[in-house]
Amino acid sequence: MLWKNTYNEFIKILAKPRSYIGLAALTLLILIILFAMKADGRMYISFVTASFEQTLSFNGNILNGNLIAFIVLQMLIVHIPLLVALVTGDLLSGEAAMGTLRMLLTKPISRSQVVYSKLIAAAAYTFILVVWMGFLALVVGRWMFGTGDLIVLNSDGLVILNYADILWRYGLAFAVAYLALMTIATLSIAFSAFADNSIGPIVSTMAVIILFTIIGSLDVSVFDHVKPWLFTTHMASWRSFFSDPVPWAAIRESVWILLGHNILFIGIAIIKFKHKDITS
């Protein structure tokens, strides 16, 4: 029954126009970034390298596909959660709003299976978003800008990574970015279990992200104990794969914390949904 309903969920997601908003928006955003970089990428880079370039000269293809992919990832990590929540926040509450949840739950399928099948569908949708983003950023980026060493600006300086040493970093970075986006997906599903309208969980998810991000960026010591436990703190963990050496321990910690959040949010969604009176 789980897989049958998961199949149903795929049909629904594929048929829903809003599912394509995310993909279309993502495509448009990346194409705009690619175009902008093609037109004026040197300027963008010199913003970073300006103070170094008085003393040093950077030779070689700096503005290459690898850097473009990095820029795209960095720019979009702020926006993709919205695109994910737009679909996943609607999964339970949208059906409640439409009235189909009532129809669905009078069928011989347990409520936790309903949540799981929606979770699987959400995971697949998020996966497609990430893969599509990866394809546009890395494959199209490399096609347009060629390959080369990746120059990354971290808080402690520039890191220049050998072009042969990059693909695995992107592979793992996309995996961790995916986990971060799944945290958004599960959070919005958890909100979705509480709501009977579509917009509430989407807005709530974004509100939480904004709130946590602000807390995370406030340099106030009262939040020092909270910050490491906020999932938003770890959402940019994919970036750590572009440090040299890679801070494996820190990444592992981020992965555990993100996984923990995923499990927590799924747990909340299932408990709430199982005990929910369907009055919609």
């Binding site: 913003f47 970073v48 300006a50 103070s51 170094f52 370039e53 008085q54 003393t55 040093l56 000269s57 950077f58 030779n59 070689g60 293809n61 700096i62 080369g148 060493d149 120059i151 600006l153 971290n154 808080s155 402690d156 300086g157 520039l158 890191v159 220049i160 990574l161 050998n162 072009y163 703190t233 770890h234 940019a236 963990s237 970036r239 750590s240 440090s243 040299d244 801070p247 820190a250 981020s254």
Partner: protein, 228 residues
């Protein structure tokens, strides 16, 4: 005023040595000018605060009067000054004046220290100091002080190509005081504040260039230097 003081200093130092610094620099220059072009493989090892980069192999091309090009598959970091610029600077004989600055042992070589002062007032370069091996007319060390880059030290090591004044190894010591990271971009997660402070402490970096496969005066087409 400044200039007259320097000129009098120059005059004083001139008296203390039998050697004419202008002649010495000229000898060096003439040696360098024998090279109309060269190509070489270069292995770059940069240890610069706030920059983390692997060792890189590149190809370097030079053609008189001032064309220089570095070709590398990846990103290669080179000092902005000191490769072709010094040669260019010395070529323009009327652009500077030289003063003797005593002698100094560099390793087991006794070098003559020459200060080269640009004569154009608004030049970026403020002062060039050269440690010259007078026996071989080779620069063993140079120090370029400029408005934009602070002080750049270069040590030269010579081998087969000494006859052209081309070193097999150059060690650049650069000033990184002016390095700054744009804050908004450096928004990565695992920020390490202590580490940042540590790098602020060391204010010089070194870049070692190791040359091989010199091909001198074999002709390089001008197209090589065209920007991509």
């Amino acid at each position: 005023m400044k200039l007259s003081f320097l000129l009098s200093l120059l005059f004083l130092t001139h008296l203390t040595s039998a050697q004419d610094p202008n002649e010495l620099v000229k000898a060096v220059r003439l040696k360098l000018e024998k090279v109309t072009d060269y190509a070489a493989d270069v292995h770059i090892k940069a240890q610069v605060p706030m920059i983390k980069i692997d060792e890189v192999d590149a190809k370097i091309f030079y053609k008189q009067p001032n064309q220089m090009k570095v070709e590398s598959k990846g990103i290669a970091i080179l000092p902005k000054q000191g490769l072709g610029e010094l040669n260019n600077f010395l070529t323009n004989e009327k652009g500077y004046t030289c003063a003797l600055n005593g002698s100094k042992m560099l390793g087991d070589v006794k070098t003559t220290v020459v200060s080269v002062l640009p004569l154009t007032e608004n030049a970026d370069v403020i002062l060039v100091k050269l440690w010259i091996d007078p026996a071989k007319d080779l620069i063993l060390k140079s120090q370029i002080t400029s408005k934009s880059n602070g002080t750049l030290d270069i040590n030269y090591y010579y081998g087969d190509q000494a006859k052209y004044g081309l070193p097999y190894k150059m060690v650049f010591t650069i000033d990184v005081k002016k390095f700054k990271l744009p804050k908004s971009v450096a928004a990565d997660l695992h920020q390490n504040k202590k580490k940042t402070k540590a790098t602020e402490g060391s204010q010089t970096g070194t870049i070692v260039l190791q040359f091989s496969n010199y091909k001198v005066n074999q002709g390089i087409p001008a197209s090589k230097f065209k920007a991509n």
